[in-house]
């Protein structure tokens, strides 16, 4: 697909993740799950994210990623770094920044138009859905129609 990536420069304490085979974990809000499938909304940043979609690198497990997440989640989904690149974006490790969760990284949506954001989110959703849920808490039920 080879879309042009974001032109925003990385900070000095940020690191581009380059191992295309590596998984990154993404938590999916219960309302963004329907019929067991995540919404593409779970793979695009909200305004408060300022173009950075939080993910956790594979150095922690999918379960650990779920446990350390401080908001509502129906479970952990995954995409590969290479799939993010194929979609036209990149994965940036920012775990060196202060008060950042362990193994934190982000998928970079900065500099894209709304349409481009939608396209990347849908490609990532498709990939994540194909991989399937990597961890879901046994005591919680997924919701949705």
């Amino acid at each position: 697909m080879n879309q042009p990536g974001p032109s925003v420069r990385l900070d000095d304490d940020e690191l581009l993740v380059e191992d295309s085979a590596e998984f990154v974990w993404r938590q999916v809000h219960p309302q963004f799950l329907s019929d067991g499938q995540p919404s593409s909304q779970a793979f695009k940043p909200t305004p408060k994210d300022e173009g950075k979609l939080s993910v956790i690198r594979q150095s922690v497990t999918a379960e650990e990623a779920f446990e350390q997440y401080e908001h509502s989640s129906a479970g952990t989904w995954s995409v590969r770094v290479g799939e993010v690149a194929e979609a036209g974006s990149r994965v940036v490790d920012d775990s060196a920044k202060p008060e950042t969760p362990k193994a934190h990284a982000y998928i970079d949506f900065r500099g894209f138009t709304r349409g481009q954001v939608e396209r990347i989110a849908k490609v990532l959703r498709s990939a994540a859905n194909a991989h399937g849920c990597q961890y879901s808490p046994p005591t919680r039920t997924t919701i949705g129609g």
Partner: protein, 398 residues
Amino acid sequence: MTEPEPFVELRMRGQRFDHPGMPVEALSELVAYRELLVEVAKALFLRSHPGRQRVPKGFVERLRLRLRRVDEGSALPVLERLDTEAEGFFPRDDEFAVARRLIEAAISSVASADTLPPDFPEDVVGYFNRFGRSLLPGDSIELREPGRERGAVYTANVRRRLLLSRSSTYRVNATLAGRIVEIDAEDAAFNLRTSNSVVRCHFESELFPFIRNALLPDGAGPAVRVSGEAVLDRIDKVVRMEVTEAGYADDADEESDTLSIDADPADIPPPRTSATIPRQSDPAAKVNRRIDALESLEPGWLDGEGEPPAREVLARLRHLALVLAAPIHPPVRIYPTPEGGVQLEWTNETHEYSIEFHPDLSAYVVQVDTASDDFRERLYKSLDDESLTNILLGGVTV
């Protein structure tokens, strides 16, 4: 005004009448009975007054029936007749009392000898189409004069024979399964192909979106079940139908095919009715349940942020529920958006699609080919049923 006195007892028998009280749907039979009674009485009056074209003013009002009680032992509604203030009394053998006895005689005569009594007014036989239409297999209504031990037993089979004694067709409540192969929008009708015939069906206007969505070229649309009032001929073939309910059929419906008549199958020789089709759940129920869930979202549903979906958007979705539930396109997933809208999303082998309804009912539609660079988007000021259906079936056209 004198005290009301019992006029007729209608003992209703059958499984659904075993419990105390009377099923609400059976009340329609009392209304239909009164209507039949009035028409027979009118015919009797005109017969005895050959010079008159119509009954005198106030004639019908002389029959004031009240349901005062439902006695125990099956459902036994007792209709009492109130005297009218105008007359102070009513003759015990006026046209209405004679009409009651004639109706009982007609039912007994057809049940035993397949003939109507010679003095029964033929012109009003058609009113039996309304009386007894809710009778299910095993049901009966025994009409009897108060104080009598036995009366005339009215069943679906007696009703059929009675109606066919003076007409080539009769009407029943029925359900058909088949596929819609043609729509005549001007006539509000469609043709339903069942396993052995094509039935012309007229439908209520609110069913139009469903009917339209169930039509595909070459009869390739989904199997549907339609219910309403069917007109049957002497060999119980459906001639036409007035459809009041419609839904998608499941495989079992198709296999059991094609007609379920709400009458006793032992009484009616049903050439095409070997199996009763199980009642189908509301095809849009799942969609509506999801909308119900979205309706309960409160401000801050998304980890402290997130507006609940706007009422207008949810109302729009409910309106579109049948379209969204149609099995002719991939399943549609429904999610709230933080901005107070709703996102619909669906997937096929090669594409991801979404429609985001905004609180102002504008709609942003996106189509992504996940295997190529092809990306389409379109913003609609509002999305009507037809556009939505087209998008669900064919994606975004730019």
